[in-house]
Amino acid sequence: MSGTYLSDVVFLLGFALAVVVIPVVTLLVFGLLRPHNPEALKAEAYESGMPQASIPRRPFHMAYYNFALVFIVFEVETLLLFAVAPVLKDAGWLGLGEVAAFVALVALSLAYAWRKGALVWR
């Protein structure tokens, strides 16, 4: 079991290396062929033809933060479900009940977030 795991990881390392190296090499090779005429105006950020009106490094909408928090709760729940899902078929009613209780508890947190207004974009 651990042997297949190790070879899977080694395989994926090779796979990922190829997928990263090919575009980088392509970019470098065609860098020798494509034109390169830097210009001050060309290097300006695009704002529909106007000079940049505001600096993009600025605080952003609070709602993103709310959604990110709720996301973490449910992402972890989903991950834990993936851990038990393959064996749930043989777990009997008791095992199913335990998982259902877990899901119900997290669903309660969704209801809470909903009630507190964290799920609306304001």
């Binding site: 297949t4 080694v10 190829a18 997928v19 392509t26 009106a53 709602a63 989903t78 993936f82 669903a107």
Partner: protein, 320 residues
């Protein structure tokens, strides 16, 4: 097989996957332009090659030969890293697609989870590309797309969990085998519905394309990219579309199983059908507003996915 050989095999198949995605993008872009043309009563590209068949090849040559422009105030490292972080995970996810029984690059024992987790890295690339460009449109586009991406990831994963429950395995090959007689779309229609809609959001397709809503954000997170770096975003979009459709076919439509034709043909037919539907939707429906999009994810799809878990548990008991 010894480890160095496994590594070499990985390298080789990685190169194969990248080439495959390049070719796929050429085909899908042409298909998209032709389908949209039909829907809008036009003919689409006609001049390069017979019926414009070579149009995307010409476009690819043009793209690699274009100047690589970077805004002066952009963060150089992050700007370069962004497109790679978007494109690479999309291609990596193809490693576990079973193209017919023996034709799978790697049958991981956690294949289904791998398919959901690896493209999840994309969100970092989107955020990075948007932030690094030092451009207001890019910044807002990056924020919006990452918010959308994480929101739809949850109902999507919860829909996939139900398949794992029924199949009793996380290996994509086992999931196809478990659908021997009945494809899961018949047992879990609600899961398929959730998966199909949320997948459109995951790959930024209409009606969920607000991150790159042309009329308000120009091109969203890739506004400042040009040439090959822009092409990487494009490659990622079509690789993602193909991967999501292929997985829809694997998880719900019985993968490569079907009469007469070889499995790989069946899988490509089913994938093609799903890709076509997404193109059809793209040129039929208008785009959602940003707040509607978030509400739909959290207040409609997430509760629906939780209810669906219960439904799937009952189906699982009934089948077993």
């Amino acid at each position: 097989m010894s480890l160095p050989w496994t590594f070499a095999l990985g390298l080789l198949l990685g190169a194969v996957a990248f080439t495959m995605v390049g070719a796929l993008t050429a085909v899908l872009v042409l298909a998209e332009r032709k389908v949209s043309a039909r829907i809008q009563m036009r003919v689409g590209p006609m001049h390069t090659g017979p019926h414009g068949m070579l149009q995307t090849i010409a476009d690819m040559v043009k793209l690699v030969m274009k100047e690589d422009v970077r805004p002066a105030r952009a963060d150089a490292v992050a700007f370069r890293l962004g497109p790679l972080l978007v494109a690479v995970p999309a291609i990596l996810s193809l490693a576990v697609v079973p193209f017919g029984a023996p034709l799978v690059m790697r049958d991981l024992n956690v294949g289904v989870l791998y398919f959901l987790a690896v493209p999840g890295v994309t969100v970092v690339g989107l955020l990075l590309a948007g932030w690094a460009s030092y451009d207001n449109y890019s910044f807002l586009g990056g924020l919006r797309s990452s918010a959308q991406f994480i929101s739809y990831e949850i109902p999507r994963s919860l829909a996939v969990v139900t398949v794992v429950m029924l199949a009793g395995s996380l290996s994509t090959v086992d999931v196809v085998e478990a659908q021997g007689r009945v494809p899961y779309v018949l047992l879990l229609p609600l899961s398929f519905f959730i998966y199909a809609i949320t997948s459109l959001a995951e790959v930024n397709r209409v009606p969920f394309d607000i991150p790159e809503a042309e009329s308000e954000l120009v091109a969203g997170y890739h506004t400042e990219y040009s040439g090959f770096r822009w092409a990487l975003f494009f490659l990622a979009e079509y690789a993602g579309l193909f991967a999501a459709s292929a997985f829809g076919a694997v998880l719900f439509l019985g993968g490569g199983s079907g009469p007469l034709l070889p499995p790989v043909v069946w899988l490509l037919l089913k994938t093609g059908a799903l890709v076509f539907v997404s193109m059809w939707i793209r040129f039929t429906l208008p785009r959602f507003r940003a707040d509607q999009l978030m509400r739909l994810a959290w207040r409609v799809f997430l509760p629906l996915a939780l209810v669906n878990l219960v439904v799937a548990a009952l189906v699982m008991r009934a089948v077993a």
